[in-house]
């Protein structure tokens, strides 16, 4: 078993170097965990506690009731009620307020007299997705107010309110019933971290030996190319898998993310994914000559597309055709599917077969390219 012996020698050497070099040790364990904390606490896509300002020149019981309907929801934080539209505009410009709702002087009079009344709503549209969500909140609260008015009028005229609105919607939310974004973000971060760090570590593996000159030991010895790849990748696959286990544990114990799937399904997928991302890094390491170039290439080609196209923030189905094409070119997309599914849906192994197969094919292709491009020569 000569091949095993040589690969093992290389793996042992890599492990020793890893544990004796603070930079590598930090990149392997400390920084991924730090990043998880930063994203876990800092990144929330929930739109809550929005600062709202009302311009109420009507100042009646009806207008106050309308304002209360906003203030009582958990989505809005009342900054103030003013009579001065100019002041509200200023609060908006300073960013103190994100929403301004203007109730006209004739607000209560028109409602009582059964006339239609227009209110002016201004939303800060700097962040389009958030603006969209705000709009839907306001619509919903406004609709609720309208509904109450209809009920009152119906009672007044002795009509059955249900007959006025015959269709009722009963909503139930699956997988993330509380609609908490952390349930979606942490699993996404798991995918991104396991893309970035194994790739960076892999990227430094060969190129560092090129910079130091030790690569000639491998070039000038009988070790085969795939033995080099195996010996280099193996210890770091283990490192990446340990990272996975740590992040998985933290997601459940620290962030209370709902996990309903099978630990074995997600873990086997994670193992395959780690092999794949280490391989990507290794590939960049093989085609570059300096650690800096390898790192830049890794950032550009792994984490950037993974962030935008893996379905981390935007569902793939809602991307344009180019976006969808790119999404299918990166391994993070397939793993994202499995991870999100495992955390939230908990389906069986067979539901992920195609994702797993795609990852496996991807991995085989990456390693084949690595072995083909790894020349035991310098020119």
């Amino acid at each position: 078993m000569e091949f095993f012996r040589r690969s093992r020698a290389l793996a042992v050497k890599e492990t020793r170097e890893l544990f004796r070099d603070p930079t590598y040790l930090g990149l392997s364990f400390f920084i991924p965990i730090l990043l998880l904390q930063l994203f876990g606490y800092g990144l929330s896509l929930d739109v809550k506690n929005l600062p709202i300002v009302f311009v109420d020149t009507n100042n009646s019981a009806i207008s106050r009731e309308y304002i209360d309907s906003f203030v009582h929801s958990e989505y809005f934080d009342l900054i103030g009620i003013t009579r001065d539209a100019e002041q509200a505009r200023e609060l908006m410009q300073r960013g103190t307020a994100r929403v301004v709702v203007e109730l006209p002087t004739n607000f209560s009079r028109d409602i009582v007299s059964g006339k239609k009344v227009a209110i002016a709503v201004t939303i800060d549209g700097s962040f389009p997705t958030r603006a969209g969500i705000i709009q839907s909140y306001i619509n919903a609260i406004n609709a609720k107010n309208n509904l109450e008015l209809i009920h009152k009028m119906a009672a007044q005229y002795g009509l059955d309110p249900d007959a006025l609105m015959p269709i009722e919607m009963r909503l139930s939310v699956w997988y993330n019933p509380a609609l908490e974004s952390i349930n979606m973000i942490i699993p996404g971060i798991l995918v991104l971290i396991l893309m970035l760090f194994p790739a960076i570590l892999g990227a430094l593996l060969v190129v560092r030996e090129k910079e130091d000159g030790t690569i000639f030991n491998l070039y000038s010895s009988p070790i085969r190319r795939w033995e080099i790849v195996l010996g280099k990748a193996a210890p770091y696959v283990v490192v990446a898998f340990i990272d996975y286990l740590i992040i998985y544990a933290a997601s459940i114990l620290q962030f209370d993310v709902r996990f309903v799937g099978s630990f074995w399904v997600i873990s086997s997928a994670a193992f395959l994914y780690c092999i794949c991302t280490i391989g990507m890094g290794l590939l960049f390491s093989i085609i570059t000559q300096t650690q800096l170039a390898a790192m830049l290439l890794t950032f550009l080609l792994t984490v950037t597309p993974a962030f935008s196209y893996s379905g981390f923030t935007t569902p793939i189905a809602s991307m344009d055709s180019l976006g969808q094409f790119i999404a299918h070119l990166i391994p993070a997309t397939y793993f994202m599917d499995i991870v999100r599914g495992s955390y939230l849906k908990g389906l069986g192994f067979e539901y992920y077969a195609s994702d797993l197969a795609s990852l496996a094919i991807y991995t085989v292709v990456i390693y084949t390219i690595c072995i083909v491009l790894l020349k035991k020569r310098i020119g």
Partner: protein, 662 residues
Amino acid sequence: MPESLIRVEDLHKSYKKLEAVKGVSFEIPKGQIFGLIGPDGAGKTSIIQCLAGVLSADRGEVSIAGISCLKKPEQVKPIIGYMPQGLGLNLYDNLSVEENINFFRELRCVPERTFLDNRNRLLEMTRLAPFSKRPAGKLSGGMRQKLALICTLIHLPDILLLDEPTTGVDPISRRDFWQIIQNIVSEREVTVLLSTSYMDEAERCHQIAMMHQGEFIAQGTPTELVKTLRGQLLQLTAPPGNDLLPTLRDWPMCETVVQIGQHYRLLTLDKTDDATDIETSLRTLLNEVVPGQVNIEHPTPSLEDVFIQHTRTEKLARPSDHSSTPTSNHLSDHLFETPWGKQQQIDCAINTKNISCQFGDFTAVDQVDLAVEPGEIFGLLGPNGAGKTTLIKMLCGLQKSSAGSAQVIGYDTDTEKRKLRHRIGYMSQKFSLYRDLSVVENMHLYSGLYGIKKAVREQRIGVLLERLDLAGLGNRNTLSLPLGIRQRVALACALIHQPLLLFLDEPTSGVDPVARRQFWEIVHALAENEGVTIIVSTHYMDEAEHCHRLGFMQQGRMVITGTPDQLKQQAEQMDGSLVTIESEQFAAAFEALKPEFSGAIYYGRRVQWQSKTPQQDQDRAAEILQQSGIKATVGCHPLSIEEAFVSFIQHDLSIQNQLGAA
């Protein structure tokens, strides 16, 4: 002639536009040591890498034991050991000595028995056994290189490819290193190809090839090559205070002449004139200019003499090649209008009191006391890591001292750095040039840094270009120039502000012998004509002879200072005279003499040791050699700087060990 194990035929290799190897052919029989000698960029590394199977060639064939290294590189790799250039560059710094050795063992799948025997022997020979737990990154340069050799030899390769294995290694480690190589060659008939820039190492090879600009300019055994030297080699010693250089240069019979300390090494033109005639005419010439007796000797030609003659001939054949222009004569004039250095009114150019430099728990410079006079050429000698560069940086005010004080040309190095820097020049190991700028642009940059006025600037640049033999190269991109010329450009940049004191940090590393000679001539002229004080560090022991005074450094300490002759005499008094055995069968002679004379070592093609009873030793050695049937010349030689250095360093080490034990 035994069968050739290594065969190289018409090898060509280019890197983009640069032709590194231009049609080289040679063969090495089994069990021989083949040396490639030549400056940096001559193409040595490319040849070695092709043989190691790590570089492809453009044309030609390279084979080991009949297997093509270009077509089937993987088949030759099990039987070769390749050590790349650079001190221990194949080692993993974070791994210990033992772990490094084990890695190479596993990489080569060495069986247990072979491994243990071989490892223990190698560790013993290199004296590295006590350090087996120490990380490779914390070994000295010499130790690293010995460990690198162990790692290369651990799988008992039949072929050893060593790329400048001893450059920058201390003389003692170099001796250990050669001992191992000679042993494995004689025991296991290992075939060795190595490159070196030390001429004495080249002399130990069975065959050598001199390389210059991608071609072999001469090839043969060292003895054969020395015989190819045309003309006569003379060594002249004049009474102090006489400058013979201009006279000798103008002598029509002179081919080359170089000043080494008080001696002049002169090679005459190749004429069939009788030796005595030449000597007589030289004496007649010298009698006119030199009062008193000039001593003329006939030294044994060295490979360096041969190398210089060959490269000169090459250059003369191709006059367009600027790098080869023979040295100009105008150096004896003043470089500028006034000899600026001679105007200074100071007694001491450098005066340090116990200066030290500490990096953490590592002492880079340890309580150095040093006094250097104005106009002196002072050489700092020592292996890599001895503290030479740190000491120079401290004297320039670039590195703060952790204890003690230093006055350089009257300024305190810690408190008057700014004033100091305006009056000193510094040229570093790497020739601190901006490689994408042209020669003149680099000089403009340096003038700007030193605040030199534009009017003065152009005039000075013109003079420097001319005097340093750089005329016509002003607009060339620095990167495109050969190393030897780049070195002179760096010197021109360091001189643009007319420094009173010039620091040269390993200025000649990797530069070819011709350029090295030319460089030293300029240095001499600067000291003598301009009164500039020069501090130069080097690890080439033979260059030390160019200096007025030397300081030997070891582990941060200044072990001793003195003139080259003083140091040699002192060393001779300490350890005795040098007994030398010169023989074609020098390896066999060594084996025969080793039991009796434990201090015997190889030096070039001779076996030598220092002895306090030289006459007795010579008689006994002659007896032993006769009994063993080895033809040899037994004699006594004056000590070289290298032997003096080794003597002082070994004494210093034993004193340190005693102190440590106490």
